[in-house]
Symmetry: C2
Subunit: 265 residues, 2 copies
């Protein structure tokens, strides 16, 4: 790591084949996006019918972004409703560290205070669809939609919580543990948005993206994943993962599902 460096060309950040494939499989409409968003926010705190109506009113056409498109700050507020993105930082020599992933249902640019996290560079990892959330800050400021506001606060708290998990993962866990932990985090978050089938869920990430998230080299990610497959911990095919022994994985990774209620305000 000290000597030769992998100069991460940004153009290199391209979508997983399977992700591209699946994104073309079926039309994805506004209705479906709203459903995912609603499901995710309701998992944080039950929304009122007014909140739901407000979200539907956001309407507007879905913003569509190709994979590997950098969304330049300052971010327009939006809800990601399909596809994956990430926040990242680059070192001056090109090493990249992924700060966190953005999954369907996640908000971008909606943190009340202009926080450092929001000024991270963001790039889509797959083909993405987003819903403009421009009216949201005003609606919240005017004390309407208190439940929606609460859900968004909890979403921010969750983001921060994942940041802390990430620090422990990078600082004190082995390659194996890091990957187990990350997979469990992703599965938990996708489950909140109703995008899992049991322990089976989409993972449209290349091994390079996994490496940049876990602080490992691509090759080592590859070998570690294969070891996990050999040990029947996971199955990994066609951009989908199956966690075969979730309890064992959680023990290996020392994973504890977050409890949004805990940050109740």
């Amino acid at each position: 790591m000290e000597t030769a460096l992998r100069p991460t060309k940004l153009a290199e950040i391209t979508p997983h084949r399977a992700a591209q494939r699946s994104s073309r499989v079926r039309a994805f409409g506004l209705a479906e996006g709203l459903q995912i968003l609603s499901r995710r926010l309701n998992a944080l705190t039950p929304l009122s019918p007014q909140d739901e109506a407000f979200l539907r009113g956001l309407g507007g056409p879905l913003e569509i972004q190709p994979a590997a498109r950098e969304l330049s700050p300052p971010q327009e507020p939006r809800f990601l409703v399909a596809g994956w993105a990430c926040r990242f930082r680059l070192l001056s020599d090109g090493r990249r560290q992924i700060i966190g992933f953005l999954l369907p249902g996640d908000a971008l640019g909606l943190s009340e205070t202009a926080r450092p996290l929001e000024s991270c560079r963001v790039t889509t990892l797959t083909h993405c669809r987003a819903l403009s959330a421009g009216p949201v800050p005003n609606a919240i400021r005017e004390k309407q939609h208190t439940q929606l506001a609460r859900a968004l606060r909890l979403a921010n708290a969750l983001d921060e919580s994942f940041l802390l998990d990430h620090i422990v993962r990078l600082g004190r866990q082995t390659a194996n543990e890091r990957l187990c932990h990350l997979l469990l985090e992703l599965r938990w978050r996708l489950a909140q948005a109703g995008l899992t089938q049991g322990w089976h869920f989409p993972l449209p990430l290349t091994q390079e993206m996994l490496a940049d998230a876990t602080g490992l080299s691509i090759v080592h990610v590859n070998r570690t994943l294969q070891q996990m497959r050999r040990e029947k911990l996971i199955e990994l095919r066609h951009g989908m993962v199956h966690l075969l022994q979730p309890d064992l994985l959680a023990e290996i990774a020392d994973f504890h599902a977050p409890d949004p209620g805990q940050w109740a305000a």
Copy 2:
């Protein structure tokens, strides 16, 4: 790291000798604590005379904590005015990761929203003195002390920014780079509170604490520091550091001083 583990006994977390020594050298009074706090907050945004008076009014006797005392959440709001503390997490087998350091002038438990960061476990690393900040949330809620409120928002933003730096450090930097980067961060923060003399500043941390912060083993921290000494990058004696070649250090670590003005709200 996989096999044998260092079962971090919490009782083990003891203060650096030099820190203990210096804490006994001279009496440390309320006035001095207020001065450090004021200097630090003014570095974030200029406080009004009313703000300053309010801070002085916090008064109350200084809370005094010995080293290695865990401050149990929920945190009573307070300002740390002398000594060092840290937020940390433990893995179930005892591995410890330090999430961030708390330095004189830093606030604890003052983040408006109950954030995950505030629910981290916190322990003093050295003998500490703190000022109760109980009245602060109310004062802010009543829209008085807008400048003080702004300073505290900026302080929170800075904390978050250090979290992101920490992630990059742990994920993508070598041992050498991590230590350089951490030293530069600490010196910048201490300088804000007026606790440095040029590039010379106190570092009351054991190598174990540095290891738990940088995600390295104690032994490797030791060797890396010695290498840095041999290369005349730093001097390190009696709990004080001297950064001999700050520009070179910044280049090695890819360090960029934060700009609080950037998160202006």
